[in-house]
């Protein structure tokens, strides 16, 4: 068929090019986003610091003379002492704080990542479905969220622990299963405005099924708010975890977490400040890095807001 522009030559050329070239080269959105992310200095520094923290937390313990539960009977309640190999000092039981801080960071990172992942998955799917279908479905789904909000989450954690026994993994899932409520609300709000956009209607007019529309047209456009909220959720989860550990429902001695270390350290901050300072520095660094990384990701992922 003759093109109205009469540029059949161009078309033939292009068809020939297609013969030799399997996929035309173009910058994908991911490449584009990564390029923008790496151009952001604060985000880049955050990535390095976070990677460093994760590597040290997971591999550091293999290079230490002390394990996190080993007691050094000759060094109890001692400030940092390089000769004895206690770089961060020791706690009331003579355990090496550096080893414990590494183990605690490890634990906190795992809790945060697992719980955030659970909350993002449940929250996004639930919120997008609720917002997209709207009407009665939306009303029922959101009232359920409201009811869940109204019940104290401690109750859920206690019930979970009673049913399944005390296991850290269960705890992470439990926290995640509660944190998704806010995520679902945020996602629903965004979905309500997104589904009125014409590209969603165009997809409907094109015959796309609701599942395709939600997964392909709505969820990817939620990246901005979801990433921001997820980076805010991580610190919240770390704090929740420390609170649960304090109640005896979370991580149990001799294992530890950053939250537990800090809450223990704060009780003796005047006599043994190192027990508070070192874990606090690690936590603050992590949280700041996550915030900057979240900012950077949002800017990088959102082609509109540049």
């Amino acid at each position: 068929m003759a093109g109205i522009t009469g540029k059949d030559v161009v078309l033939t050329d292009y068809a020939k090019k297609l013969e030799t070239l399997d996929a035309p080269k173009g910058r994908s959105l991911t490449q584009d986003a990564l390029r923008r992310l790496f151009a952001n200095k604060a985000a880049l520094v955050s990535i390095f610091l976070l990677t460093g923290l994760v590597l040290i937390a997971f591999f550091g313990p293999y290079f230490l003379p002390w394990s996190y539960d080993a007691v050094d009977w000759s060094n109890i309640r001692k400030p940092p002492n390089f000769e004895a190999g206690h770089y961060f000092g020791t706690d009331q039981n003579g355990r090496d704080l550096l080893a414990r801080a590494m183990q605690g960071t490890q634990m906190s990172i795992i809790v945060a990542v697992v719980a955030t992942f659970v909350s993002v998955v449940i929250g996004v799917v639930y919120g997008a479905a609720s917002g997209y279908f709207g009407g009665r479905v939306d009303a029922v789904m959101m009232r359920f969220v409201d009811i869940m909000y109204a019940l104290p989450y401690i109750l859920f954690v206690i019930i979970l622990v009673v049913i399944f026994g005390r296991s850290p993994v269960l705890l992470f899932v439990g926290i995640g299963a509660i944190e998704w409520l806010t995520m679902a609300r945020i996602v629903r709000g965004q979905t309500l405005s997104l589904k009125e956009r014409e590209f969603v209607e165009a997809a409907r007019a094109g015959g796309a099924r609701p599942f395709t529309i939600i997964m392909r047209h709505i969820v990817p456009n939620l990246t901005g708010p979801v990433v921001i909220y997820a980076t805010l959720t991580i610190p919240e989860i770390i704090i929740t975890e420390s609170f649960l550990s304090y109640l005896g429902l979370g991580v149990q001695e001799p294992q530890t977490s950053l939250g537990t270390l800090i809450s223990n350290g704060s009780q003796v901050a005047e006599a043994m400040p190192w027990l508070l300072i070192f874990p606090a520095i690690i936590l603050v660094t992590m949280l700041l890095c996550l915030t900057y990384l979240g900012d950077g990701l949002r800017d990088a992922l959102d082609p509109k807001d540049r």
């Binding site: 093109g3 109205i4 522009t5 540029k7 161009v10 078309l11 292009y14 068809a15 297609l18 035309p24 080269k25 173009g26 910058r27 994908s28 959105l29 584009d32 956009r197 014409e198 590209f199 209607e201 165009a202 997809a203 409907r204 007019a205 094109g206 015959g207 796309a208 395709t212 392909r216 047209h217 990817p220 456009n221 990246t223 082609p303 509109k304």
Partner: protein, 332 residues
């Protein structure tokens, strides 16, 4: 005479607004479309014109099933499509396509042009391999006047006019039988409007697709349509061939619309428009002829009786009590 491609009979789309329970002040019914009849033949371009809120977009949305019709029949190739459920209607979506108004909202910012254009192909099983899809996409991009190499890029890299071309490509790639163009150029810059409009007209002539062209701008409509239907408050008040409507407008509302086309004459004396006031509310339409509160010809009968459809010959139909009293047709 053969059956028209699309035959709309007494189509009604009513919305319930407000709520009774628990704290609402009562449900009202907004009659966005209140019984319209319209037929579109193969290869014909019918324009639906009217002011904001008269329900013209709702007609288009009801035809593509983006909105549920309350009552009436829409026969497409002789089959009532309003009877079909969602899954039954899906195959027909390839035949009835829609061009959207806002090119900045109608493309998913996260998908490349190729992904956007491949989606309808995939849904309707029109491409059996990635390469076939890509070739079709290259072809349709060429048709709408874009270079095929743009397919790897994202919508943010394009201007409004280019985006609208992509929106048109998304429609044309399915080779539809009927295209509903919902104000396709009104969101564009005036300098771009003509280009896109010419493209739509050329594509229409080339492919012979039937078209329902929804617009508030009679200047644009004159350029493209074969037949015109004028809508006021959910009803069609006048319909006829383009030349008839422009040369011989009968309904006072049509005359009002024609007189409000801006003319490129500086300092020209603006004639007083025959009608004043705001359009009546669709939740509470006036009795009789809905236009009577604004109509210069209104008499007692207009306030009480719904006007009959009067056939003026040559397919020219007007719903007015006073078709015999014509003001001088404006030199449009």
């Amino acid at each position: 005479m053969t059956d028209p491609l699309l035959d709309i009979r007494d189509l009604k789309v009513h919305f319930r607004i407000g709520k009774n329970w628990p704290f609402g002040s009562g449900v009202k019914t907004l009659k966005a479309v209140d019984g319209i009849d319209l037929a579109i033949d193969m290869g014909e371009v019918v324009s639906l014109v009217g002011e904001s809120g008269c329900g013209k977009s709702t007609v288009g949305r009801a035809l593509t099933r983006l909105e549920d019709a309350t009552d009436g029949e829409v026969r497409f190739k002789g089959k009532n499509v309003l009877d079909l459920d969602r899954n039954g209607f899906r195959p027909l979506r390839a035949d009835i396509q829609m061009i959207f108004q806002d090119p900045f909202a109608s493309l998913n910012p996260r998908l490349t042009i190729e992904q956007t254009l491949a989606e309808p192909l995939r849904i309707h099983g029109l491409a059996h391999s990635a390469r076939e899809a890509r070739e079709k996409i290259a072809k349709v991009l060429q048709q709408v006047g874009l270079d095929p190499s743009v397919m790897t890029r994202h919508p943010h890299a394009f201007s409004g006019g280019q985006r609208q071309r992509i929106g048109i490509a998304r429609v044309m790639i399915l080779s539809p039988k009927l295209v509903i163009a919902d104000e396709p150029v009104s969101a564009l810059d005036v300098s771009i409007q003509a280009q896109v409009l010419n493209l739509i007209r050329d594509l229409q002539r080339e492919t012979g697709v039937a078209m329902l062209f929804i617009s508030h701008d009679l200047g644009v409509v004159r350029h493209i349509s074969d037949r015109i239907a004028v809508m006021y408050l959910g009803r069609i008040v006048e319909t006829g061939p383009k030349s008839e409507i422009f040369a011989n407008p009968t309904h006072p509302y049509t005359r009002l619309l024609l007189r409000s086309i801006p003319r490129p004459v500086p300092n020209a004396q603006r004639k007083r428009l025959g009608a004043t006031g705001e359009p009546a509310s669709a939740t509470n339409p006036p009795p009789g002829c809905a236009f009577h509160p604004r109509c210069p010809l209104a008499t007692e009968v207009c306030r009480t009786k719904t006007p009959p459809r009067i056939d003026l010959g040559q397919g020219h139909i007007a719903a007015c009590h006073h078709t015999d009293q014509r003001e001088a047709a404006p030199a449009a």
